[in-house]
Each structure stands twice: as structure tokens, then as C-alpha cells.
């Protein structure tokens, strides 16, 4: 402890002080935090500040791609007026993907936690397996699956269930891709919370005159709410900012806000301030939504 204190140059340290243990522990805690804090500071906080500064810059008139530092909120105004539909689409598609992912994941997680028996580990591996290939690659695979020549479209057309005759390059394909890509983020937290639940507690529901459905509604589902909450956040947040699914599976027009940001940064000369403003608006909007959502559905464990 004294060595540590020496390095830290703490003059208040008295070797005979009665609390060296606690002091040592608190120093250890800070040391352990250091790499993470540094990492976040350099690679998250600094760029964030820089992005904020960029979002307030103004363009030199007549010199595309050149800006000067300013406090100019017109970028935000532009972001909100020009791209409101993109924001709306982002949230609707992400919301739908979250809903579908939930509807698929809950039964799956439930089966894994309570019914799978010795198949449980295999099922877990199957859920995680897609992570072994890259995100982009999987999304490309979906463009194959949903292609006009693919069997999905073939079967649906044959059954006369597909009036448009095509899935790829439609919002349906985008939502399908988002749902698929973020499914494990929904399954795993729900599975974890169900798996942790004491089976006796669920039996107690039956013992106290609740039939299967009522027990599920009043006991099992509420007990897994922390998992549902985590899963929906882990799905919705990245899905709302995603642009890859739209890029590879979506239509030419009617993009999501992620695509606009991507284009403004990379393709549009002088697009930086607007892109930065869009990024900030998206971040704020998601933060507000998450806050309201957690306030409404949160349990003590998460808030």
C-alpha cells in the first residue's frame, strides 16, 4: 500500500493510519477503471465533442467541403425538416424488427430455458452461431434468400401470397434483415432471465390456482421483464441506427436515417455538419425514447 501511495504522491498517507486496507482497495478500483476510462475518453468522448463542434459549423459559401467554426443551429433545422421521414422510417422499421424479434425470441428462449433438456446447449450454440460470420456477409446472404429468383419468393408467388411479385428492395426485406440480424441480442437476455428464474416460483403460480396461461401472464412474463427490456433495447438501438440492411436489402428511395448520415459523411461534399447534426439528433431521440421506455416498463434491476 505504501508503495502505491508513494507513486501516487499522496502526502496525507500515514503508514500507521488505521484504514490502509480500504485505501488500498479504492486505489485498486481506480487502477482497474483506468484502461476503460482512457479508452472511452479517447475513442468516444473526444470524437463526440468534436462531432458536436462539427454539427455547429457553417459552410463557406461557394466552397463546397469547406467550413468554419461557428455556433450554427441551422444544420439541426435542416436535419429535422429535410430528413424527418428518414427518422420516422428508422424508428418504424426498428420498432417492427424489435417486435418481430421479440415474438420469435420469447418462445425460443422459453423453450430453451424450460423444455430443451439436453438439447439446450446445442440450441444456444445455434443461436450464437451466426456471429461466427460477418454481419455484412449474413446480410448479403439474405439478399440471396429474398431475391426474385429465390425459393421464398417462388413459394409465395406460387401460393398467390405475393401481389407485388418481389420482396427484395422493399421495406419488408429491410425489416426481415433487421429482425434476423439482431435476433440473438433479443434471445440471449430473455433466455438468461428465464433460466435464472426459480422453477419453484413458477410452480407456486399453479399451486395458487393460476392455470398455465395465467401463471405465464402473472408470474413468468413479469419475472423475465428485465431480460425483455434488455433484449428490446439491444435490438432497437442498433437497428434504429443501422444502414447496412437498408443498403443491401432496401429500396433505392425511402432510406433510413443511418443511410443519410452515411451518405452525407462519405458522398456529399460539404455534408459533414449536417451528418453530425443528424447523428446527434438520432442519438438524442433514441436516448429520450429509451428513457421513456425504461421509465414505463423498467424494473428495479435496470433503472
Amino acid at each position: 500500500m505504501s508503495a502505491l501511495a508513494h507513486v501516487a504522491g499522496d502526502p496525507a498517507v500515514d503508514p500507521a493510519a488505521p484504514a490502509p486496507e480500504t485505501r488500498k482497495r479504492s486505489w485498486t478500483a481506480y487502477l482497474l477503471l483506468l484502461p476503460g476510462v482512457l479508452w472511452l475518453g479517447v475513442f468516444f468522448l473526444l470524437p463526440l465533442v468534436q462531432l458536436a463542434a462539427v454539427s455547429l459549423q457553417s459552410r463557406y459559401p461557394g466552397f463546397p467541403g469547406y467550413y468554419y467554426s461557428d455556433v450554427n443551429f441551422s444544420n439541426y433545422a435542416a436535419a429535422l425538416t429535410d430528413y424527418a421521414p428518414h427518422f420516422a422510417r428508422s424508428f418504424v422499421y426498428a420498432g417492427l424488427a424489435t417486435l418481430f424479434a421479440f415474438l420469435i425470441s420469447y418462445p425460443l428462449a422459453y423453450a430453451m430455458a424450460f423444455k430443451a433438456g439436453r438439447w439446450r446447449n446445442l440450441m444456444l450454440i445455434c443461436v450464437i452461431a451466426p456471429f461466427f460470420t460477418s454481419f455484412i456477409l449474413r446480410t448479403f446472404a439474405w439478399s440471396q434468400i429474398l431475391a426474385d429468383e429465390g425459393w421464398v419468393v417462388g413459394v409465395l408467388s406460387f401460393l398467390h401470397l405475393l401481389p407485388g411479385g418481389s420482396i427484395i428492395n422493399t421495406p419488408v426485406a429491410v425489416v426481415a434483415g433487421l429482425t434476423y440480424n439482431f435476433l440473438p441480442f433479443m434471445v440471449l437476455p430473455i433466455y438468461a432471465s428465464l433460466e435464472r428464474a426459480d422453477p419453484r416460483v413458477i410452480e407456486a403460480g399453479g399451486d395458487l390456482y393460476a392455470n398455465g396461461i395465467t401463471t405465464f401472464r402473472t408470474v413468468t412474463l413479469p419475472m423475465s421483464m428485465p431480460g425483455v427490456l434488455a433484449g428490446t433495447l439491444l435490438t432497437f438501438i442498433p437497428a434504429a441506427g443501422d444502414f447496412v440492411n437498408m443498403e443491401l436489402l432496401g429500396p433505392q428511395r425511402g432510406k433510413m436515417v443511418g443511410n443519410v448520415i452515411n451518405d452525407q459523411f462519405l458522398a456529399v461534399p460539404g455534408g459533414y455538419p449536417v451528418a453530425a447534426a443528424l447523428s446527434f439528433t438520432l442519438m438524442t431521440a433514441i436516448l429520450v425514447m429509451v428513457f421513456l421506455y425504461v421509465r414505463r416498463f423498467g424494473t428495479e434491476e435496470l433503472v
Binding site: 407456486a204 399453479g206 395458487l208 419475472m223
Partner: protein, 366 residues
């Protein structure tokens, strides 16, 4: 009460068997528990107590046999259809609900109009009113246990199943809760089936104790009867202490059987021996044995031994005595004499007992 079967009367298990794979957890068990009695199921870990309770609750279906309350056959019905409630070994309170909502859960499911009022009454019964708004995690083990009890009691089930509900408590709290449980049972007059592996708990609380071993009931009766006259070796040694010795029956002397236990002749009342010939396990309880320095005059029935250890317990003194047969007996003497015996390890002593207290059980475990 939608869905719940109306059934009143004694709980009966008829030839109930439960197997898991090829492991027999409960083996051809028949049981009759009179309505309103406090019944204790006592047995070592893994003997099938919980499995038996779960079959009564409907959480497990018997492989064979029937479960009845009164004349209503409940075999095959679902837990929520049975007028039976369980206090689980681990309490199993709903973690996301307050104490009051936990207790009101049953009445609400049964569409009782005054569910909240009933919950409050039940909480008062277990003296937990002041904690009604807390969540289970904010309670101590003993408090959670009371909530679990209230949550079951509030439904006035025909049969209340308690699966080692006091297992997690320290000794003092355990004793307090035992008294409280007994008080509540007398007050509400329900059938209680109390599972425990603490023999003292079973004996102090229950009207009837069933000793279970390897999925079977070895013996069943009032605690005093089981203690006084065990019918099997397992019951003799599981319920209280017993000084035992393996002997051979050599003959009959009036009302008594005479057996030779490693050179010592002992007598057992015919009515108190489960075997009449061949090998017998002779037994006598420690407090029935008298320790003295000199050979007492009288009918015999005495053995000379050597004191190994003396512990003064206050109300009594406990002696460990090495017997000529090589076994060690324990004896309790109440400290009634003005001049105490003052025995030391190594002293020779005579042990005597009234043959009326001895018992004989089969040597082999059934």
C-alpha cells in the same frame, strides 16, 4: 371458485408409486391423514418426502396409485384444481410482487371479492402486517417464511403442505416458528403435512409422525408411541437415540423372550418384540437405563461396563459406557440424588433397566 375441485375430508394416498426412469422415489405408499390433524413426514435426505408432497399438490403425477381427499379422486388433476397449497422448501415467493400482492395472489385467482382484505388478515395472522408493502428480497429468511405461510393459509386449503419450511432458520427462530406454526394450525384447524428431517421438530409438533425411508413408510403413529416402541431398526436409530445389540433368542420366560446378546442375557416383553426366534436387535433408550456403582439386587437384567466419558448437562448427566460386547452405550441420569454418583472415566459400573422398556426389532433392515 372456478376450476377448483370441491373436496373435503381426510387425505388418502392409495398405493402411490413414483419412479424417475428406473429409480423408485416413492414405493407403494399408502397413507391416511385425518382431517384437521398435524401430520409430520420424517426421513433422511432423498427418501422421497418432497416427491410425496408434490404428488399431493399435483406438481408431480404418481406413476401408480391414487390421491384422494375425502371421496374425491384428485389423481391426474392439475395443481390449480386442487384445494391444496404448498409452502415450498425455498419459499418461492414471487420476487416481482409486494408481500401483500404475494398473499393476495391465490384469492385473486379464485375471484374472491375481498382478496385484499383476506390478504391483510392472513398477514396479521403471521404478524407481518407492517411489511405488506415490501418486496420479498427486502425480508429476512424468517419473514419470507411467514409470508410463504400466509400466502398458502389465506386460501383455507383442505390440506396445507409444508416442505421443510423451517430448514433455513437458526435454532432460536426455528423454535419460535414451530410454536407459531402449531398455534396457527390449532387456530385455523386445517390438515397440515409437515416435511422435515429434524426428528425433534417432528415429535414436538405433530399429532402423527410417519417415518419414511427409501420411498416407504417404515412406521406411523403418535410421536410417543414411535419413540417407545419402534418396529424397525431404522426407526429405532433414526428417531432418538437407542442402545442396541444384536442377539439370539434362546427361549421364553413367561411374558418375556430371553435373548443372548454377546454373552449377556437380556429379556424383552413378547409384545414388544417383532421377532420371536433367531436373531434379534435388542434395544433400550438411554434415559431408561440406570447407572450404579454396585450390582443392584433383583431380577438380573444388568450388565457391567466401564465408564468412558461423563458429561454434565445440568438437568441430567450423560454417560458413555463401554460394554463387554464391545459396543458403547449412552445413559442419561437425572441429577436427583443429594449425593451425586461422582463417576470418572475408567470406573466400573452396573447398568440396569426395566425389561418392560426394552424392545426387539429385526436385525436386517427391510
Amino acid at each position: 371458485m372456478p376450476g377448483v375441485r370441491q373436496a373435503r375430508g381426510d387425505l388418502r394416498l392409495e398405493k402411490v408409486t413414483k419412479t424417475f426412469g428406473d429409480f423408485v422415489a416413492v414405493d407403494d405408499l399408502s397413507l391416511d391423514v385425518p382431517r384437521g390433524s398435524f401430520f409430520a413426514l420424517l426421513g433422511p435426505s432423498g427418501c422421497g418426502k418432497t416427491t410425496t408432497l408434490r404428488m399431493v399438490a399435483g406438481l408431480e403425477q404418481p406413476t401408480d396409485g391414487r390421491v384422494l381427499i375425502g371421496d374425491t379422486d384428485l389423481t391426474g388433476s392439475r395443481p390449480y384444481e386442487r384445494p391444496v397449497n404448498t409452502v415450498f422448501q425455498s419459499y418461492a415467493l414471487f420476487p416481482h410482487m409486494t408481500v401483500r400482492d404475494n398473499v393476495a395472489f391465490g384469492p385473486k385467482r379464485r375471484k374472491e371479492k375481498d382478496a385484499a382484505q383476506r390478504a391483510d388478515d392472513a398477514l396479521e395472522l403471521v404478524q407481518m402486517t407492517q411489511f405488506a408493502q415490501r418486496k420479498p428480497v427486502q425480508l429476512s429468511g424468517g419473514q419470507q417464511q411467514r409470508v410463504a405461510l400466509a400466502r398458502a393459509l389465506v386460501n383455507h386449503p383442505e390440506v396445507l403442505l409444508l416442505d421443510e419450511p423451517l430448514g433455513a432458520l437458526d435454532l432460536k427462530l426455528r423454535r419460535e416458528m414451530q410454536v407459531e406454526l402449531k398455534r396457527i394450525q390449532t387456530e385455523v384447524g386445517l390438515t397440515f403435512i409437515h416435511v422435515t428431517h429434524d426428528q425433534e421438530e417432528a415429535m414436538t409438533m405433530a399429532d402423527t409422525v410417519a417415518v419414511m425411508n427409501k420411498g416407504r413408510i417404515e412406521q406411523l403413529g403418535p410421536p410417543a408411541e414411535l419413540y417407545d416402541l419402534p418396529l424397525t431398526r431404522f426407526v429405532a436409530t433414526f428417531l432418538g437415540q437407542a442402545n442396541t445389540g444384536v442377539g439370539t433368542i434362546e427361549g421364553v420366560d413367561g411374558e418375556h423372550l430371553v435373548a443372548d446378546v454377546l454373552g449377556t442375557k437380556v429379556r424383552i416383553l413378547k409384545s414388544r418384540s417383532q421377532v420371536n426366534e433367531g436373531q434379534v436387535l435388542f434395544g433400550v433408550r438411554p434415559e431408561k437405563v440406570t447407572v450404579s456403582r454396585k450390582q443392584p439386587d433383583g431380577v438380573g437384567n444388568d450388565v457391567k461396563g466401564v465408564v468412558r466419558d461423563v458429561s454434565f448437562l445440568g438437568v441430567a448427566t450423560s454417560y458413555l459406557v463401554d460394554m463387554p460386547s464391545g459396543t458403547t452405550w449412552s445413559c442419561y441420569e437425572q441429577n436427583l440424588d443429594v449425593e451425586p454418583l461422582d463417576l470418572r472415566p475408567g470406573d466400573g459400573v452396573w447398568l440396569t433397566w426395566n425389561p418392560g422398556h426394552a424392545f426387539g426389532v429385526p436385525v436386517e433392515e427391510s
